[in-house]
Structure formats: C-alpha cells, structure tokens
Assembly symmetry: C2
Homo-oligomer: 387 residues x 2
C-alpha cells in the first residue's frame, strides 16, 4: 500500500498527503463530524466551501438508523448524504461502549442494546468491516474494545488483547482495496501497554494507525503524554489518527507530537452551545457583553458569519433559540479550525512549526481544565441517556 | 400616497405593485415569517435566493428580545438581521392577545406579561407605532384588539370599536413618510360588523388595509366567506393584506377573493414538523413509505433540497432529529410557495386565473379539515406556554 506520503517534518510535526478514493487529503487534516450522515446544520456544499475535505461518520449510528441496508439501497453513504469528499467511518466500537447499553463482550463479538429503542444487537469484527464496506467510506476502522480511563491494569490489558484479536480478524475480513483500513492502538494510560499494543498492531499490514482510548476524562497532560509516547512507536510512513481529540490547543499540541488526522466533534458541538473560537480563546456568545456589540464575534475573521452578522445578532439568535444560531456558530468554528490546520501545515512546510505553535498558544487561552472535565463528564452522561 | 399600483385583475384576483423603501414588490406576495428577526433555519441570502422579497417580523417578540433599544443601537432591523429586502412588522396586537398573559385592556392601551419571563409591560397605539418606526420596517401595522373566534357579538363589537380608536391614534402618531401604514379590519365572523369596520377605517387615510381576526380556529369556509365579503368593502387602489392565512389552498382561494398580501408562517412551521408540500398535497416525510425512496420528495421540483437529496435522506434526517432536516424542508416549502405565487400572478396577468385555480385545486388535496383544526388548536396552546 502507498496511501500516505510524508512530505515534510518540522520537529515531530508532519505534513503529508493521504490518497483516498475521493481525493488527495493534505495532512494534518481535521474531519468534521457527520455522525448520522449529516454535519450538523450544514449542507455538504457548505462543508466543501469550508475547505474541509474529509468528514467522519459513524457505523454504530448508521447501522441503527437508517440501517446499513437502506444506505446500501440508496447507493452508499457518499450518495446517500450527497457528499463527494472523503469519508472516514468509525467502526462503532467507541459508541457501543459509551453510548449503548452494553450487554456482553465476548471474544467473538459484542452484544448491546440500541440507545434509541433498546433493541438488542450483536456486532463482530467481521460485521463491522462488512458494514463499513457497504457504507463505502474511504477510511474505515477496526472494531476495538473501549474502556474507561480509570479502569485497573488487568481490565485495560484484557481489552487491549481483545482489540488486537479483533484487529487481526478485521484485517482478514477486509476485502475492498479502495478502502484504507486503520488499526486502533489501545492500552489506556499505561505506557508499557501502549508500547505492546503499538508493537503488536504494527506487525500486521494496516494502512494506518489510530490512537484510541484518550480524551475520555483523563487530565489533559496525560492525553498529550500518551499521544506523544504512542505516536513515536508508529511507523513514520503510515498515517496516524488521534481519535476524539479536537480542541484547537489540542490539535496544535498533538500535531507537534506527530499526529496527522483528527476528528472535530468538539468545535461543532460547542458551537451549538454558543462557544465560539477566537484567536484569544473560546468565548460564550450568551455573555451579556455581546448584547449590543456591533462588531462580529471576531474582527478580521473572514467566515460567512463574521462577514455578515454582528455579535449582537448572534447573541440574540442564541438567546431566542433560533435554529440559525447553531448554523452560524458551526460555520464560524469550522472556519476557525480550517484556518488553524492550514496555518499549521504551512508552518510545517516552512519548518517554522514550533514558532507558530508558541505564538498560537500565547494568544489562545485554553478552556479551564476543571470546566473542561466537568463539561466532558456532563456530555458523556447526557449522551448515554436513551432518546 | 401612491404606494400601490393595481396592474391587472382577473375576476376578483389582482396583480399589482407595492412600492416600498426596499424595492418594488410584485403582488400577490407571500411574506415568509421571521418572527424573531430570523426566517427560521435560513440566512437572509437564502431567503433572497428563493425570490422572496418581503418578510414579516414581529414587534412584540423584538420588543421583548433583544429589545427595541438594542435594534436601534444596531442600526435598525434591516441592518440587525442582514436583510436588505422589504420588511412588514406586525404591531404586536395579535401576539399580546394570543401569546402573552393578558392583564388589562383599556382604551389607553394594554397591559400584558411577557411569555418569556413574566415581566409586566404596557403598550399603547402610539408606542406600537414608535417601536415600528425605530425598527424601520417598510410596512407597519396599527395596534388592534384581537379576540377569540367564538366570542359573543358584544365583545366582538367592543374590540372592533377599540381597534378603530387605536387605529386613529396610530395614524396620528405615524411620522415617518417612508413607512407604509396599514389599518386592520376586525369584526369577527359577523358580516355587518366587518362592513362597519371597513367603512370606518377606509374613511381614514391609511396606505393599506389588513383583514385581521381570521384563521384563528373558525371553519375554513367561514374564513373564505368573511375574507371575500371584507375584501369587497376595501378600496381597489389600496393593497389588502390577509393576516395569518398561509396554506397553499387558502392562498389561491383568497387571491381569488381579492387579497394581495399574505404571510406564510404555516409553510415554514409545518416544514419543521416534516410536512412537505407537493402538487398533490402535503406529505408527511416521516411516513415509512419514504424510508427507501431514492427519488426526491417531489420529482421535477427545482428546489435545492429536491435537486440534491432523496426523500429517504430527508426521512432519515427527520427521524434522527438532525438540524439540517428543518432547513431542507423549509427551503422546499418556501420554493413551493414562491412558485405558487408566481404562477398565480402570471395567471392573473394572462387573465387565466380561474383556470389555474381550478387546476391547482383539482391536483392539490388540502389537509383534512378536522386534522387542520386540531393542529391549529395544539399549536395555539403550545405557544401560549411560557418558555
């Protein structure tokens, strides 16, 4: 396989190209999240205009609704949702373990109940691949076993071993050559398990490697340390995807630790809560200081939202719970992220990444760690409730 | 004043031009509803692309949130919401009587409690005009007293007399010559009161006349009869606006009874519930028959939604409560209405309106009357609850 070309490094940061069936993707890359075959609030054309080339969608959600069979009949996921860019599908592993009501995890597969209607389902590594082949994503993921960040070593070890076993079966089940298959390195926050996981999986012939099981409640520094440690264990000629990490400050820190691919559920999710990214950090548009602000949320921002509307209008839309609010905020945050990743890539190509990183982090005040963890916990709890 | 030019009639149907400070509006015209300074889910640019030239916004809602003072500081309603087409603002009368908790109606004005936070407010005819002058709408409405469709004659009479008194005060208070002021004919479903109301108001120097107090729960035939009766009492060289009537079959029936201006809250509201207009009538996109339909909701529809997405995808978005669903459905329904009104106007210009009307109503199956009244009742109840 030669789906990935490493073009340039700057320190540990990498600029590359990922060759997919729906175009060449320049890395580092951010994938906006279209969990249920829609990047929330946006049309595919708008996502395209934001210069975002690859989206993340989710096998678990699509399997439950509308059903893999429906998407198959409608000609695959690209056609179904009207998106001709690249798609990465997650296998459903993370969702089964975080969102559904888990029934039973066996070596053969996992039994779970739908978070929508409580119906019972059984997923195996082979089925996870089959479903993703039917969906027709450009990058597909192995089925992995996810566990909490605070589980004991024995549990982390057992889940990791099962993940390796499942990865092997996914590799064997994988048939379509136009789909890139990624393994997922697990091992929690225990470096020697991460090492064992990376070594085991890199002996198999995967097209790329993901780092899973992070940003699920552990302290930020630990996320960064384990990312750095794990990324260094992965082959440099393969793409690396850090799953579920997507705050601006995390992106730049983790590019600096050797990661190529990110999904960004966070920028779109926080947008819908009125949290907008600016060069100096996240602002809460519901704050009273925006009530009469004739200027946009961020001066000199060239996004559609800031070019057309005052912060006061956006504040009003959020206060009034107008649906346009969520859309305008989503556009702003995705443009912010899109600019960020382009700037990062350019700084790697110029070999000025470290300077850019320091400059960005000097200006950008990250969300308070305690607030962040509380928000994360609340979100994890909220999504675990049935609809 | 010469804000309205009657160009052609076909039976009682009229084609005209309404000259506003933000462009010449061809009538009959439909105004999508941007109650809170946003046509729900759409950007102003999108509304513009749908060939809709005038929107309806609401003084009551904007007075409560963000506040008239805020919009004044932000440069008026057009600038605030980024819309350079025409705007019609309702005075707030209908909302005070249907949405807020009414406290006290006196000749001087009306005291009410906000449906948002229960705060107490006082509105007079003079204030209603002042607020609308600050908002800067192109067409503004007098403050009127609205009552239920099943009130007794004495109450209908008293509210009508007060509406006339308030109308006179609004006329005297009105100062800005670039704003067109409409009176509102009341009188419930009692023809002789409608006659009295029309006669009283047409002796005053209003720029246009609205027919108020209809489509609030009375049987459809009564809406049509009173509309026809009242429209015939209004001067032919002034524009006529039928408030709150917006279903496709009603539009065509009421154009045929001499109405020029409609607002269409209905097409956008039902869109968000998954009711989509087609040539043969409203369809419920949540119906299982759309689950695997590869064709769009309506073949040969040139709206963005039907040009890009299958009915199956739209069905999935609604099932999944994806925000994009509401937007795509809104676009479809507004394009349907936009085409309808253009076809109506062309048929008037060709003097083939009656043929077009019969053809349209043969194909289009209106919503069942009982279902319609139940939905209307539910909607009225739901919006009367505080947020």
């Amino acid at each position: 396989m030669k789906n990935f070309n490493l073009i340039k490094t700057s320190g540990k940061a990498r600029a590359g190209e990922l060759v997919t069936s729906h175009g060449v993707i320049q890395t580092p890359v951010l994938c906006p999240v279209g969990t249920q075959a829609s990047v929330k609030t946006l049309t595919p054309q708008e996502v395209h205009e934001l210069e975002l080339k690859m989206i993340l969608s989710n096998t678990y959600h699509l399997y439950l609704r509308p059903g893999i069979d429906v998407i198959q009949k409608l000609g695959g996921l690209h056609k179904f949702m009207g998106w001709d860019g690249a798609i990465l599908t997650d296998s459903g592993g993370y969702q089964i373990f975080s969102l559904s009501r888990l029934m039973n995890v066996m070596d053969d597969g996992v039994t779970f109940r739908s978070h929508i209607d409580g119906s019972k389902h059984f997923l195996t590594p082979e089925l996870a691949i089959k479903y993703q082949e039917i969906l027709g994503a450009d990058i597909i993921m192995v089925l992995d076993q996810c566990i909490g960040h605070d589980e004991n070593r024995d549990k982390v070890y057992a889940a990791m071993v099962r993940t390796h076993y499942w990865a092997k079966r996914c590799l064997e089940a994988h048939e379509k050559p136009d789909q890139i298959l990624f393994a997922i390195v697990q091992g929690g926050i225990i470096p020697e398990l991460r090492k064992l996981s990376a070594e085991t999986l890199t002996t198999m012939d995967f097209d790329g490697y993901a780092i899973g099981g992070l940003s699920i409640g552990e302290p930020k520094q630990q996320t960064l340390d384990i990312t750095e440690y794990t990324a260094a264990l992965l082959p440099s000629d393969h793409p690396r995807y850090l799953m579920g990490v997507g705050a601006p400050e995390d992106i730049i820190e983790c590019v600096g630790r050797g990661v190529d691919i990110f999904d960004c559920a966070l920028p779109t999710r926080v947008a819908r809560n009125g949290a907008l990214y600016t060069k100096s950090g996240r602002v809460d548009i519901l704050n009273a200081r925006f009530r009469e602000q004739a200027e946009p949320v961020e001066n000199n921002c060239n996004c559609y939202t800031c070019q057309h509307f005052s912060a006061a209008y956006l504040h009003h839309l959020f206060k009034s719970k107008e649906l346009l609010a969520y859309r305008l905020a989503t556009i702003h945050n995705l443009v912010f992220m899109s600019h960020l990743i382009v700037s990062i890539r350019n700084s790697i190509l110029d070999d000025t990444f470290e300077t850019y990183r320091q400059k960005f982090l000097t200006d950008y005040k990250p969300t308070n760690e305690k607030v962040r963890l509380t928000q994360k916990k609340k979100w994890l709890e909220a999504r675990a409730r049935p609809e």
